[in-house]
């Protein structure tokens, strides 16, 4: 998998999927992309981010431009950064089979259409990133941090 944006959504997505056998081959943040086809050590990346550093400070990988994460070949591509990162003009650069939209409206409508025609499965943002909303609804109904839900 490759994750664009290694903040709250990106780190948890990577950790969750890695626990189920996925290998993180690329991650990006505002300052660049780190690429390691053999697999990145997620805990190390999270520690870097927690200390205010960038994923590009990771020692064992190829440092690329921020947008180079779009070109990384992978089975699962996770946009977890900002809106409109994949558009009609760059959708052809994605080399993946499955997109899980962690960010809000990360793809434009025409980009989603083009990928659908190419057979790339793009699971929409409000299906995949609803965790925060579900948690807020539960808290509104009385759930608290004393009884954390998964």
């Amino acid at each position: 998998m490759a994750v664009q944006g290694f903040g709250a959504v990106g780190t948890h997505s990577a950790r969750f999927l890695a626990e189920r056998g996925a290998v993180l081959v690329a991650a990006s943040d505002r300052r660049g992309t780190i690429y390691q086809p053999a697999g990145l050590r997620i805990a190390e990346l999270i520690a870097l981010k927690d200390s205010g550093k960038t994923v590009c400070d990771y020692g064992d990988g190829q440092k690329l431009d921020r947008d180079a994460v779009i070109d990384v070949e992978c089975d699962i591509w996770i946009p977890a950064a900002r809106p409109d990162v994949v558009r009609a003009d760059n959708a052809h650069r994605l080399k993946t089979r499955l997109v899980l939209q962690g960010a809000n409206i990360p793809f434009t409508e025409d980009a989603e259409r083009a990928l659908h025609e190419r057979g790339v499965l793009v699971i929409p943002d409000f299906i995949e990133n609803a965790g925060g909303m579900i948690c807020a609804a539960m808290e509104y109904q009385g759930a608290t941090g004393r009884r954390p839900s998964r």
Partner: protein, 48 residues
């Protein structure tokens, strides 16, 4: 709870994509609209 709901919603979207050959966003929007309509039917005002 979150895992259960996200999983169920994803499975529902994938089922519509597979059986009706819909684009995932179309399937997801339809599912969301149906749920909103159902929820609104229990109120005295409606957005529809």
């Amino acid at each position: 709870m979150i895992e259960e709901k996200v999983r169920a919603n994803t499975e529902a979207v994938l089922a519509a994509v597979t059986s009706e050959r819909l684009a995932p966003r179309r399937a997801a929007e339809r599912m969301a609209t149906e749920r909103i309509k159902e929820a609104m039917s229990y109120r005295r005002f409606s957005a529809f």
